[in-house]
Assembly symmetry: C2
Homo-oligomer: 279 residues x 2
């Protein structure tokens, strides 16, 4: 790996604003670091993309972020992590370490479960990839994964300012098989879902532990930087930059809700136009 | 205490919509119970009221709620709990048990702190009452309480749909003395504050435990009902009613954000007009 500079920012990308829930946890753990966040809002949602499309998107976004320099890359999107992480890690092996969401969450779920029945709520692309099954098999051999795919929950959350009847019905429908399976731990397999965590907790009851990726990723980012001696001075305060492939103003407005921090300027960046119909 | 009926609802009141964060935790723990919630939105905020005013308000709201019947009363407002709980408990001793927010939170803080330095962020009325100091002295003799009063944070949260620069500046200002004092635990002394919990956590860092009243109260409500054999059948699903002293539509709109549950009909109830200028 090439010599990296501690003064470079940590780069984070996601399909849209959902990964800001991951960025938030990184800011709690590492207030001294600079971060640059890229939301691919023009091509949101990723949940029903093919693995091949997701690898292409991830490669393109990583290239944009690394062109400006970064000391670590976080793939803060479960669909992209599930499909593209091995390829991305291999291609960037001599440039930066890449942290994804699947392994940290699976480890956290393994640490929480007592009855070895773990639920996963995620997009169809993430469930279809089987990435969580593989990661959980490593983290907790013998544990069962009960996966529920929701094609619409991420979009409902992104659209809605408040929890409405449709979102509620969607959450209730998703929780029904999880309750039947008796899971005691639920992995939130999409970075949008922390915004309806209270609704999920109400539906599943207090005995079910809900695991989201944010804190687990923040831990892994800190560990990676510490191991490479790339942490910045704790007394400084980091600065944050935001890029979006879609409408910057829409990103700013939505993003403030996800990050709970006023987002100033958002720079627009171009990506390959979407060829979804042809895919 | 008079014979109470398990089929009656649990009644909850607050100065506005903030107590819905407490109601939420009660719904997680006790989905089988019915709840009636009364928000005194016409007289919000309570944070700069005198103790005498708060006792009068609490008495009036309790009377409205108990007229329809209730098996337990929750004072889900820190200002009202701090000022009026002893009086209310005494007056209602032969009718219903009354659960407030101060004692459960202080116990939780005592359980969390390792360095015996506990912070309190609350309204001026709550800080001035000294109720948390007394409760913490009982729960953790020898612990120091570092109290910070904010006159405006609850209103900023209630007004704002998203976290803006003013809210951020207010949180930063409030956290400064808490960081100087080296507290390792912070009591959220107002039911509005859970909505900016991520901002507080970012400001204080991950090593500070943030304690809010919701879960502690939900535990106490469950314990009280179980002890009196007044819990309902776990297989049923409770119904929730909402009353407001101010504009019902405003309550519905704001409340949905606080509760993360669509709030249907809100019934308007009249209270004594505000005599704040004369107070």
């Amino acid at each position: 790996m090439a010599q990296r500079d501690a003064e470079l920012p940590v780069a984070v990308f996601d399909s849209g604003v959902g990964g800001l829930t991951v960025l938030h946890e990184c800011l709690v753990s590492l207030p001294q670091e600079d971060f640059v966040y890229l939301g691919d809002t023009a091509r949101f949602p990723y949940g029903d993309r093919t693995a091949q499309q997701l690898v292409g998107f991830a490669r393109e976004l990583a290239e944009i972020l690394l062109a400006d320099g970064a000391k670590l890359l976080v793939v803060a999107c479960n669909s992209a992590s599930s499909a593209a992480l091995p390829a991305l890690r291999e291609e960037l092996a001599d440039k930066v370490p890449v942290v994804g969401v699947v392994r940290p969450e699976s480890r956290l779920a393994a640490a929480h479960t007592r009855n070895a029945r773990v639920g996963l709520l995620a997009t169809p692309a993430t469930v279809a990839s089987g990435a969580y099954e593989r990661a959980l098999r490593t983290a907790a051999p013998g544990a069962e994964l009960h996966a529920v795919a929701s094609a619409e929950l991420a979009s409902l959350i992104q659209e809605g300012g408040e929890v409405d009847e449709r979102t509620l019905a969607c959450v209730e429908g998703a929780c029904r098989p999880l309750k039947s399976a008796g899971v005691d731990t639920l992995i939130l397999g999409c970075t949008h879902y922390p915004l309806v965590r209270p609704v999920l907790q109400r539906e599943l009851g207090r005995s079910v532990s809900i695991v989201s990726s944010g804190e687990a990723i923040a831990d892994e980012v800190e560990r990676e930087l510490r191991a490479a001696d790339l942490l910045r001075d704790e007394r400084r305060r980091g600065v944050y930059r935001f890029l979006a492939t879609g409408d910057p103003e829409g990103f700013r407005r939505l993003g403030t809700r996800f990050l709970q921090l006023p987002i100033g300027e958002v720079r627009h960046v171009e990506v390959e136009p979407e060829r979804r119909a042809a895919a």
